[in-house]
């Protein structure tokens, strides 16, 4: 079987790619597309990061120094949108593109051409989003949540933003359909669902979540658009609508969205921790079920983002109980990772450090989440810096640290080069320290009552804001350093050994050479 492969065949494989720019524009190769997703998301991460630094510069001390309030509001809005839709989500789609075919033993994604389209929708969407900044009236200052009726007051920037969200949504849907089809149809013989690496499971679940909630977001922003221009009154009380309906719709999308961001991060961590503990993942089946439970239960707690809108008490009680209970499956995952490390043989290369950083910080985010689940306390902390601190612990620590762990972990497989371990570790420690300097103090700001999204603040908040701003600039510079580490490794990194990580046992490590060939698994491996 397949006895006739020879050198000559490989020549055919390579002689037909378009080269230069056209290679990237027309590529249908999952690896090329994964690479583009990752670079795109890094670019957006820098853009969104610069916006965060504008915010922190303004908040360094009380008074208006750097920007005016309209610009400040636009900064918080675009920072949120760009980080969520432009940086974090594409980063994990990039991981999915690179890893899913390699991990299940498939030659490529199920719909390679659609894969190409779903990537190439992103740059126009990002361009629209950034272009909206330069519309008359400036960028829309509505927060990434885009609550009605503030959105009705905005200038044309709001419309461009809505179109951008639509395009990003289309891209996500196409990506999800592709991932679902690939994972269901293209697994190698013997690779049953319950043998898939956890990363694949997390993406299968995430893709289902995306399918379920993306129409909700599309509907919400479209109704905003028709309210603005076509005289509908979905969210306008004067016409029989309800502004709170928007919030229900948005958070029905928004809460699962948090998991859309977090679950693939769980997947990456579930690959990295066993590899560096040299021990199989503890409770694989439980992890699969816990992830699925989290996904299902994420649909029934959305209104815990809305305790101050004046829901009936019954509603508040229900959402409180449900929110408290869904802490359990998430906690179980943390325990599983700890049990994976327990009695392992642990080494601390950069990916493992980031995974441990993730574990620590994500658990801290879980703790503040527990505090926020108590409605009476949440009412106090809602829309304050406590919430800002909480979701940055969950999203930055949760998603970004996991993404860093993933990049360092798979870097040798992707490039065939080794990053500089010393520099990688330095990047980790800088990120960890500055992250905490930036965000830990924000808990205190929130407790003391500093609302979020304000460009100027009362004097008692000064010291912590200064510390936070210093931390933010440090964190920003650490990511420039990350760029240096990666570029240096790509240009002049040492050649990676065939098996750089002793404990890595998924298909891409056991069945493919390092670096992975352009076309992997021409013949599917057989999984025992």
């Amino acid at each position: 079987m397949s006895a006739v492969l020879d050198q000559h065949g490989h020549e055919h494989a390579h002689d037909h790619h378009p080269s230069g720019l056209m290679r990237w524009v027309t590529t249908t190769n999952h690896k090329d597309i994964g690479t583009m997703y990752l670079w795109f998301s890094f670019a957006m991460f820098i853009v969104g990061g610069v916006m965060a630094l504008v915010i922190r510069a303004e908040l360094f001390q009380p008074g208006l120094q750097v920007v005016n309030p309209e610009f400040f509001n636009a900064m918080t809005t675009y920072h949120g949108l760009i980080m969520v839709f432009g940086a974090i989500m594409p980063a994990f789609v990039g991981f999915a593109n690179w890893q899913i075919p390699m991990m299940i033993g498939a030659p490529d994604m199920a719909f390679p051409r659609m894969n190409n389209w779903s990537f190439w929708l992103l740059p126009p969407a990002a361009t629209l989003l950034i272009a909206s900044f330069f519309m008359p009236g400036g960028g829309a200052g509505v927060g990434w949540t885009m609550y009605a009726p503030l959105t009705v007051q905005q200038g044309p920037a709001m419309d461009l933003m809505i179109f951008a969200v639509h395009i990003l949504g289309m891209s996500s849907i196409m990506g999800s359909i592709n991932i679902i089809t690939t994972l269901l149809n293209m697994r190698a013989p013997g690779m049953t669902l319950m043998k898939m690496p956890l990363f694949c499971w997390t993406w299968l679940i995430t893709a289902y979540l995306l399918i379920a909630v993306m129409p909700v977001l599309a509907g919400a922003v479209t109704m905003t658009l028709t309210d603005r221009h076509f005289g509908t009154t979905f969210f306008n009380a004067a016409g029989g609508g309800d502004p709170v309906l928007y919030q229900h719709i948005f958070w029905f999308f928004g809460h699962p969205e948090v998991y859309i961001i977090a679950i693939p991060a769980f997947g990456v961590i579930s690959q990295v921790i066993p590899a560096f503990s040299r021990k199989p993942l503890f409770g694989y089946t439980s992890m699969v079920y816990a992830t699925a439970s989290i996904a299902i239960l994420s649909f029934i707690v959305w209104a815990h983002h809305m305790y101050t809108v004046g829901m009936p008490t019954v509603g508040q009680l229900y959402f409180m109980y449900a929110t408290m209970l869904i802490a359990i499956p998430t906690g179980v995952k943390v325990f599983n990772w700890l049990a994976t490390m327990w009695k392992g043989s642990i080494t601390f290369e950069t990916p493992m450090l980031f995974a441990l950083g993730f574990l620590f910080l994500f658990t801290m985010g879980g703790f503040s989440g527990l505090v926020l689940s108590l409605t009476a306390v949440d009412v106090q902390l809602h829309d304050t810096y406590y919430v800002v601190a909480h979701f940055h612990y969950v999203m930055v620590a949760g998603a970004l640290f996991a993404a860093f762990a993933g990049v360092y972990y798979w870097f040798p497989k992707w490039t065939g080069k080794m990053y500089d371990e010393k520099l990688g570790k330095l990047h980790f420690w800088l990120s960890l320290i500055f992250f905490n300097v930036t965000f830990f103090v924000q808990h205190f700001l929130g407790l003391a009552g500093m609302p979020r999204r304000i460009p100027d603040y009362a004097l008692q908040f000064t010291e912590f804001n200064m510390i936070s701003s210093i931390g933010a600039f440090g964190f920003g510079l650490s990511q420039v350093f990350f760029f240096y580490v990666i570029v240096k490794a790509i240009r002049s990194g040492e050649k990676a050994p065939e098996h750089p990580w002793e404990g890595a046992d998924t298909l891409e490590w056991t069945h493919l050479p390092t670096p992975a060939p352009y076309h992997s698994f021409e013949t599917p491996p057989v999984v025992k």
């Binding site: 494989a13 498939a106 199920a110 359909i177 089809t181 269901l184 993306m214 509907g219 479209t222 076309h519």
Partner: protein, 169 residues
């Protein structure tokens, strides 16, 4: 499990007896029935959410859910329709017989091996393999990656004894 799974391999088999036969299938790791269920799970949830919001007055979620379910259905349908696709190429008793199953349809082509010509053609940046004679062309090796397709071409070329028609268009 193992046996059934292996039947799904996209593979090139040669039997070196008195004849030669190759069967190329696409890999498919889910049964059509389970694929339907997987689709239904997504579609029902999306649709229920759309209907729920429509009942709450936000009917604009529903059309988007509809479009999305249609896209998902198209993807599953496209994939499922081709789940059983296969090509078998056999040279036996002085005949070259090519059977192509594609989306439920089955075409059978027969050629005289002496007349049959192989052609690798570049179509939209991809190399595709055709077998033909007397102005009739049949594409083969569609489920293979490009290198495997090249290998199949050489194997067939050797069997047919006809050499290459080359990389012409």
């Amino acid at each position: 499990m193992q046996q059934e799974a292996e039947a799904n391999l996209p593979r090139v088999e040669a039997d070196d007896g008195h004849g030669f036969s190759v069967t190329v299938r696409r890999n498919c790791s889910i049964s059509p029935r389970n694929a339907c269920l997987a689709f239904a799970a997504a579609a029902v949830v999306s649709f229920a959410i759309g209907v729920g919001f429509a009942a709450a007055g936000a009917w604009l979620v529903l059309p988007f859910a509809g479009i999305e379910i249609a896209a998902l259905a198209a993807a599953f349908f496209f994939h499922a329709r081709h789940a059983g696709d296969c090509e078998s190429i056999a040279v036996r008793d002085g005949r070259l017989r090519i059977e192509v199953r594609r989306g439920g349809a089955c075409e059978v082509h027969e050629f005289h091996p002496a007349w049959a010509r192989l052609a690798l053609r570049r179509c939209g940046g991809e190399l595709r393999l055709f077998v033909g004679a007397h102005g009739r062309d049949v594409e083969v090796g569609r489920h293979l990656t490009v290198p495997a397709r090249g290998a199949l071409a050489r194997e067939l070329g050797a069997r047919l004894g006809s050499g290459w028609r080359g990389l012409g268009i």
